[in-house]
Symmetry: C2
Subunit: 333 residues, 2 copies
């Protein structure tokens, strides 16, 4: 099943659509449930009805369908009650530790790194991404994320696995010039992690077919910067499975329905072979290889496109296509 | 105006009530707007109608009112899109730096400390607070918080000041045994900051009268542990005004309506004179005075009560009254 959210004058949470598998057409789903969060709040009751609508849409058996326009889409959850972003690719962290000559994060190889992200204001997948300054080290991070139902405190991996409802593709915008200082303070990332964007279409895990297996997502994440291919690392390189991220997140608290958990910037740790999913990884590689970074961070006017294709070359989640603009005077909703 | 939320079978966000100034009676507000978040989403349109209802309730001019029972209340926002907790009392940090012989947080005296907290699952103000283990250093933190409307990125202090809609009283539960390790990692606090609880009644700033002035809240926060008075530090000792916390939070991102911003554990840095609003501050003082902490953290079965009284001794927000219980088998909704 594929779901998306169009903006709505009535609700900051938008209105729910079902989108056809090929992303060509959509149908209003608000007669079943008004928003994606409302669907997640009572998923077991609502999901079968949404699935029936989805099947009818794919079969061409529905009246009142319309072309799906990703430009009109919000992030599937325009705002969420929780956004926890992990770091599942150890090769990424090791490369950066080496490049910047910093001690490894304590126990990063046995306990996932994770931060609590802001979730009140996700950006639409297509359009302007406003920033305070392009001197802050503006960087994209192309990554997978999952959306869960309720997860009890202290959940084991089997319980955690069963809680997964949806898979998302994210651009976890980062401000690299501000991050080291925030990390030194020890209280986490606020200035260095502005609003995240998600690709327009949320998909149930079964839509990934064989690429959803063993707790990983074995699909390449394609990133282009100003129209030039930048990276195509595979999600299959994940060291932490999603159930491990979830049991970590739920160790001392419940996770409530609609919680989004990210896998962190996709990485094979080989920017020379597959590129990378964020600029800082390429810069780290340049430091190791050449003694200094040569790739700059993004500037106002720059664009990024992030997409995932299935084995037949079809877009799975739709694309993220954003342009970096100054917050002052930005066309923000 | 005073507002509260009762639980509801229809919505995880509960249903909105208006509560009389003396906290004795309540009236259903859902004919105006169903939930507090929905009210915050369009505050300018909704607040005058809620205020009229509140005035009629206080005047005894309403039919269909009922006794307000805080035991039936949820946190005013049972879940929120953002919970940012600052640290406004420098004396607190200085005492802990000295006690634990740790270097000060970089620039804590000129830039507020703040962490992004989990906001998907606030606890009800009365009842069980479930924890995974009472070996984790369970500690209360009694503190003020504000709820804001939309705050633009890069807002100045005047804009930030105008965004404040409501004031809350919070218990920011903390797990002290887990906090140093998380801080060393640099990615913030997940395990050491489980679900927060808020007193049952949210109040508009005008309800605080002269105690709401110069960007601070000049009221004492009273805490009792297992029925014994533990602290009564004044919010008036704040070093960072709320507008400073807000401009810090909004430096690189917008804050959207319903964002909660906390002032951090209330402290005058004088546990021997006014007690403290968390156990760790008392323990720090014991280390400084006696070389070792003697007060233990909370154990299963312990209770905490947190309340704020006005100049006439009347409860402003209603009380937080929680009992520490094991998560396994806890009576969680």
């Amino acid at each position: 099943m594929k779901l998306a959210t169009y903006s709505s004058a009535d609700s900051r949470d938008g209105r729910l659509l079902v989108v056809s598998r090929d992303l060509a057409r959509a149908a209003d789903a608000t007669t079943i449930v008004p928003t994606l969060q409302a669907a997640l709040d009572r998923w077991d009751a609502v999901a079968p009805r949404l699935a029936s609508l989805y099947d009818a849409l794919n079969a061409g058996d529905l009246d009142g369908t319309f072309p799906f326009d990703p430009v009109l889409a919000e992030s599937p959850l325009p705002r969420a009650y929780q956004w926890l972003d992990g770091s599942s690719y150890l090769a990424h962290g090791r490369l950066l530790d080496r490049a910047f000559n910093i001690p490894p994060i304590p126990q990063a190889d046995v306990i996932p790194i994770m931060y609590q992200g802001g979730s009140d204001d996700f950006l639409p997948p297509h359009g302007d991404a406003p920033f305070a300054s392009d001197e802050d080290g503006i960087d994209f991070e192309a990554e997978f994320a999952i959306v869960v139902g309720d997860v009890p405190m202290g959940a084991d991996e089997a319980t955690a696995r069963d809680s997964v409802k949806l898979v998302l593709l994210a651009n976890d915008w980062s401000l690299r010039a501000l991050q080291p200082w925030e990390m030194k303070r020890g209280f986490g990332l606020i200035h260095s992690k502005p609003s995240t964007a998600f690709a327009p279409v949320a998909v149930t895990p079964d839509e990934l077919g064989g690429a959803w297996r063993d707790g990983i997502i074995d699909l390449r994440v394609l990133t282009a910067w100003n129209g030039q291919p930048f990276g195509r690392p595979s999600g299959g390189a994940m060291d932490y499975r999603y159930a491990q991220l979830l049991t970590h997140a739920a160790r001392t608290r419940r996770l409530r329905a609609g919680t989004i958990v990210g896998f962190g910037t996709t990485s094979e740790g080989q920017p020379d072979v597959v590129g990378s999913a964020c600029i800082t990884e390429r810069r780290g590689f340049e430091i190791i290889q050449e003694g200094a970074p040569k790739t700059p961070f993004m500037k106002f006017g720059d664009t990024v496109k992030i997409e995932v294709l299935d084995a037949d070359g079809r877009s799975v989640f739709g694309s993220i296509e954003q342009r970096v603009v100054p917050a002052q005077g930005a066309a923000t909703p």
